[in-house]
């Protein structure tokens, strides 16, 4: 493979790749992101390969495995280019038909998305409501390229921003452009990337580092993973451009070991870029040298914190340190180290290509561009969504997410991961940007958006996050190590019926101390889930404490299940499904739950046919006495 030594070399290569590709030739793309992988996309892809061979169509139809398309709810996703015909829930058994019909230029109706509102079939990907309301600037190429092929990335214009930055702009101009675009860090706090870059650039050391933070540890968030797995070159390109602007010649990619495909794809991408001379010495003949190393993280949430991450890169335990001097000035081995998360880096080539004015025309006053969210939880269309900053929560959850499943009522949305908070229904019209979410006591975080319905207990959610944080606290500073534990104990008491007057006030007091005196952001933001639920759902805490009642019927110690004798039709369904064998009865005998055996899993409640609705959940009230043997005989009206 020839090294590229100039912009014209790059353009020549690009034209060469494009000239060998026929844009009208059908290409079957199979999503191989984590969600689709879990649905078995491997088998679907294998079936396509076999079937195309079998039908003798290898010359007529191309096939491509891509990264995450985003619409995880309907995996395995298959999109046929160039028309972008989108097939949902594709199974290996569907493959032969898809291949045959694609060869004839036909569409397989039954695999198309059906619009729930109109009942109509939707042919093209961009017409599906889930995609229609998105602006997929960063994520969009995921559907169009094989992450293991640098040629695919080049065919889409890849590395043109790098060429532009290195050969037509000075480092100062690149920095100014990013500052002017007001690109804010997508990893959590939303600190302006350009300002951070400038700090590192101006730091006196000769050796500086730039780092990709791909230690995405927020439960329920997988945006960065999908970018790293699906379009690794866009991240590399952004990183090299920043290296040039900052005056750094060495980059690190800190990626979780738990994301093996991301490790594999980015490692391969680095090798390919090196072969083309897009990494290494004298990149594109510009005289600029830059190399990248991959460092695997070993599974510690706190190691995503900037100073902890840098300590881990040095090979030590990834714990944070006091940041009297910022990592942008003294980071890895005490040298200036600029850290941004994956999504931030992937935005950089866009800004260089299209300019700061274009970028800042998207979004709100204080938050420019788009943001990727993982929209998950109690929502119809689980998936990755990318929207312009400023779209409201309602638009995201209802227009894109398709609302709440099973006709349940929306209760809250949790943003910002364990550092964030819960936003109630009354504030659902809030436009989503960095500042608005902070104002509501939550935060943008890296982009987790977990939808909760009426069956979610907010005290339990707060406890869940504290449990997570107590486990992940590194233990270095006392307020975080001990404080979170104490808060968790109080919450556990509340959810198990031992709550007492004064608990809420004590929680608030502890929260304040932990927030103010913890060493790093993990501790400082740890009370947020409790504070935000207290702010909007205080009545739920009070019900747990005063009435020993869990309004959402979640906290097991406060909930009982009971079969109403006059409604039970002795159908045996609950009895057969009970995993604890706690239900007794026969075909003619009304069923009864043995409260001492019941594990309160709720299976009986879920499986009892709605037309009977005999299983009742109780909380804050005693379980009525079971019917006598005589009363249990069912008189069938036949």
């Amino acid at each position: 493979m020839a090294r590229l030594n100039s912009t014209s070399d790059l353009e020549e290569l690009r034209q060469g790749i494009l000239s060998q590709r026929d844009p009208t030739k059908p290409c079957i793309t199979i999503c191989s992101g984590t969600g689709c992988h879990a649905y078995g996309s491997e088998n679907v892809a294998a079936a396509f390969r076999t079937e195309i061979e079998h039908q003798g169509l290898a010359e007529q139809i191309d096939i491509r495995r891509t990264g995450c398309h985003g619409f995880c709810e309907r995996g395995t996703l298959v999109v046929i280019f160039p028309e972008e015909i989108c097939y949902c829930n594709v199974q290996p058994k569907d493959v032969a038909e898809v291949v045959a019909q694609t060869a004839r230029g036909n569409v397989v109706e039954r695999l198309l998305y059906t619009d729930a509102a109109t009942g109509e079939k939707v042919v093209h990907e961009h017409e599906i409501p889930f995609y229609k309301y998105q602006t997929r600037l960063v994520l969009g190429n995921n559907t169009k390229l094989d992450p293991k092929s640098i040629d695919d990335y080049l065919a889409l214009g890849g590395y043109s921003a790098l060429a532009k930055a290195l050969l037509q702009m000075t480092p100062e101009q690149v920095l100014e452009e990013v500052k002017k675009a007001n690109l804010r860090g997508r990893g959590g706090g939303g600190f302006p990337a350009g300002r951070k870059w400038e700090t590192s650039r101006n730091a006196p050391d000769e050796i500086k580092y730039v780092i990709v933070n791909a230690d995405e540890g927020d439960p329920g968030a997988y945006m960065d993973r999908s970018l790293m797995e699906g379009n690794p070159h866009s991240v590399l390109e952004g990183l090299v451009i920043a290296g040039y602007a900052i005056g750094s010649h060495e980059g690190y990619i800190y990626v979780r070991q738990e994301y093996p495909l991301a490790v594999e794809n980015v490692t391969m991408a680095i090798r390919q870029a090196e072969e083309y001379g897009l990494l290494g010495e004298d990149i594109l003949g510009s005289g600029f040298d830059f190399k990248i190393k991959v460092h695997r993280g070993a599974g510690a949430f706190v190691s995503g914190e900037s100073s902890a991450l840098m300590t881990a890169i040095e090979g030590r335990v990834g714990e944070p340190r006091p940041k009297y001097i910022r990592t942008a000035i003294k980071g890895i081995w005490d040298r200036p180290s600029n850290l941004n998360n994956v999504e931030t880096w992937a935005n950089v080539p866009l800004i260089i290509n299209h300019g700061a004015d274009w970028f800042s025309s998207i979004g709100t006053e204080g938050s420019k561009g788009t943001k990727i969210f993982s929209l998950v939880g109690k929502v119809n269309n689980t998936g990755l969504v990318e929207v312009p900053m400023g779209l409201t929560l309602k638009e995201i959850i209802y227009n894109i997410g398709g609302g709440i499943p099973k006709g349940k009522r929306f209760k809250a949305v949790q943003t910002g991961g364990p550092s964030g908070g819960c936003i109630p229904e009354s504030l659902i019209d809030t436009p989503v940007d960095f500042d608005q979410l902070t104002k509501l006591g939550s935060m943008m975080g890296s982009g987790g958006m977990i939808v909760m319905d009426e069956d979610t207990c907010m005290v339990d959610v707060a406890k869940y996050f504290l449990d997570f944080l107590a486990d992940e606290s590194c233990g270095k500073c006392v307020p975080c190590r001990e404080g979170i534990k104490r808060m968790l104990e109080i919450l556990t008491d509340i959810t198990e019926g031992r709550g007492k007057e004064g608990d809420i006030e004590l929680l608030e007091e502890l929260a304040e101390v932990i927030r103010d005196v913890s060493l790093c952001a993990l501790g400082a933001t740890a009370p947020n889930p409790v504070l935000s639920t207290l702010r909007y759902f205080r009545d739920e805490y009070e019900a747990h404490i005063a009435e020993k009642r869990c309004p959402a019927y979640v906290c097991k110690a406060l909930v009982s299940y009971y079969i109403e004798p006059d409604k039970c039709q002795a159908c045996m369904i609950c009895l057969r499904n009970c995993p604890a064998e706690a239900i007794s009865g026969t075909k003619n005998q009304i069923h009864v739950i043995d409260q001492s055996k019941c594990t309160k899993c709720g299976t009986c409640f879920d499986v009892c046919p709605p037309r009977f609705g005999a299983v009742k959940r109780l909380s804050g009230e005693p379980v009525p006495a079971a019917p006598t043997a005589k009363e249990r005989v069912l008189a069938r009206s036949k």
């Binding site: 997988y222 460092h295 070993a298 040095e314 995993p579």
Partner: protein, 155 residues
């Protein structure tokens, strides 16, 4: 304890890949974990000799990270996702059932070394929640009532 020769060779091979690099301990331990499925005592000693890092420091790193295990892992690794999405969709009930059935707590291994049960904080396939993964095989949208049947299908 006498360390077997081929074990020494493997550990040495892993360490040699990183010759001349700084700060490689975590990377070495991750490779060891992948090779042996856990980090045995004698291997820690070998790493200590080769990298000239005190055993105590290696222990500290190996006990800090979730991806490293200082005890052997069972034949089947059962991971129950308790990411936020799975949590609100009933993941805890799945974990309860698995704990009850295997008679161990999350993080432990059954006495017969058949199963190791782990709770994990998000596997990135939230559309399938609640989800349980056994040896890389996904069991998604999992009703509690099916947990037993699935676990029993492994031998």
């Amino acid at each position: 304890m006498v360390i077997e020769v081929d074990k020494v060779d493997k550990v040495d091979q892993i360490i040699d890949q990183y010759a001349g690099e700084e700060g490689v301990l975590i990377q070495v331990l991750l490779d060891v974990q992948r090779e042996f499925n856990w980090i045995p005592n004698d291997v820690i000693k070998r790493i200590s000799e080769r990298l000239q890092i005190p055993i105590s420091q290696i222990y500290r790193v190996a006990s800090f990270y979730k991806a490293m295990s200082l005890t052997p892992v069972g034949r089947h690794l059962v991971q129950v996702c308790l990411g936020t999405a799975c949590h609100v969709r009933g993941g805890p009930k799945v974990l309860d059932k698995a704990e009850q059935m295997l008679d161990i707590k999350a993080g432990d291994t059954t006495k017969d070394m058949k199963f190791t049960l782990q709770r994990v904080n998000c596997l990135g396939c939230c559309a399938l929640g609640p989800v349980m993964v056994i040896d890389g095989e996904y069991h998604g949208k999992l009703p509690v009532a099916k947990v037993e049947e699935i676990l029993e299908s492994y031998d």
